[in-house]
Point group: C2
Chain length 246, copies 2
DNA sequence: CGAACTTTTGACAAGCATCAACACGTGTGG
DNA sequence: CCACACGTGTTGATGCTTGTCAAAAGTTCG
């Protein structure tokens, strides 16, 4: 249990809330066990009772739910540092799956220890609370995205969100990004078929908004992509946090 | 400021968390002003800074966001007792609109007083926290609904959620319910056009799953409607609350 | 080097949108 | 009290967006 294990998560939480040195130390001291996970199967499953809550250390992950007919809908994607199932943990039973997009390391934190820490340290409670509220805002935007935008716009929107969040996490190389999602997964996130995703990506490439490499994507014209994606970053609440009310 | 103003909300919160007599009294004593609102325009608008948080006393409401192209997507609907914009209040700036579906009364509670109360009384904090988590679960289910189900299934699913929540609030007359949504609004909630909503309702009526009256709906066969709507009530977390961890 | 996955392409079908018109009920003002 | 406007629900004709099916080309990895 290295003390650095939870550092990516700490960094992310401190983007919104100022922690004291004690807050930081207490957070890093949380009992957590690390596990290297691959993409083969969900590591949290709908219906599972929850004893832990999980934080991504390295690699990417997504949450999803499936219909009775077997169609999968991706609900959100996650970057290193993200706490991926605080909601599941707190509600006691998972209502969706969580799975890796790429091989990576995950910290399993005792849910009870997390609860206690939050109870003792308001700054930490506040930071976690804000993260779940922003998650909620992203869910709402995704409802709009799949409900009211056409295929091309949906994809452009998703790519914009991805770029903005990768930038915030410092995971970009200039305008180029690792792209952990296959076209099938892009379809599962936008409510489209992989075939149609492929065609819409061609359309975006044809208009010189993006270009794609092997497992990478380059945003050639962010401004135009935001217009094409009807994208406004306000729903990511970049300003929410200290300075704002509880 | 009648002391009974917040009673519907108190009743709803107490469905999940057991309050002490002091909790109850303190909650009902929250400074709130009542306002009768009509359906003409949103009473909370995207971008508004938030000083209050609102609880429905009577009548129905919905939250929505609009695309740049002007299309409206309904994000959730709300029954008497629901706190409709805790998320907006806590993030400091509204990221979506809230509007009445029917004329009704709304309590505007001081956000700071609400924060203080939650800070002093863990049971109340926990109840509010759970409500926002369940809201989040509903958002996730709606993403699945608009992303991966066909028009008939989407509508049936929405009607099931409506029926279950109306039942939980005791607002049903046997299997008959007031239906506060027009067909256009049903379309905005399901990502469909009003014309297609009309046709799908005909299909559901034709199969004797529902029947509709003027501003009412009767669930003729709840079981079959749940099958048609791929509906599983687990996402509403009917069991979450006391007995479950924080 | 071969198996499995991912991306790409093409032909075709279907679901849902669009447009337009009409029916119906309700409230309102002349 | 009736005429009228308005919102809502209903119907039909038509077309576009997206899905479906199938197959080939490219890629990754043991």
């Amino acid at each position: 249990m290295t003390p650095e294990l939870l550092e990516p998560t700490l960094r992310k939480l401190e983007r919104r809330v100022r922690f004291s040195a004690e807050d930081r130390a207490a957070f890093l001291a949380l009992p957590a066990r690390e596990q290297v996970l691959d993409t083969a199967r969900p590591f949290i499953r709908e219906g599972d009772p929850s004893r832990h809550c999980c934080a991504l250390i390295t690699g990417f992950a997504y949450r999803s739910r499936s219909t009775g007919g077997g169609a999968r809908q991706i609900l959100s994607f996650h970057l290193p540092g993200d706490v991926v199932d605080l909601q599941n943990a707190l509600l006691g039973v998972a209502d969706h799956d969580v799975q890796m997009l790429t091989r990576g390391r995950v910290a399993f934190i005792s849910r009870d220890a997390m609860s206690e820490l939050a109870f003792e340290r308001p700054a930490i409670a506040r930071a976690l609370w804000l993260e779940t509220l922003v998650d909620g805002s992203i869910f709402r935007e995704w409802i709009v995205n799949v409900g009211r935008r056409n295929a091309r716009t949906r994809l452009a929107h998703l790519l914009c969100e991805f770029a903005v969040r990768m930038n915030a996490a410092g995971l970009n190389r200039d305008r180029q990004y690792d792209m952990p999602l296959t076209q099938e997964q892009l379809g599962d996130a936008t409510g489209l078929t992989p075939v149609h995703v492929n065609r819409m990506l061609q359309s975006l490439r044809g208009d010189a908004l993006i270009s794609t490499g092997r497992r990478t994507i380059t945003i050639e014209d962010l401004n135009a992509l935001q217009v094409a994606g009807d994208f406004n970053h306000a729903y990511l609440h970049p300003e929410a946090g200290d300075g704002q009310p509880l």
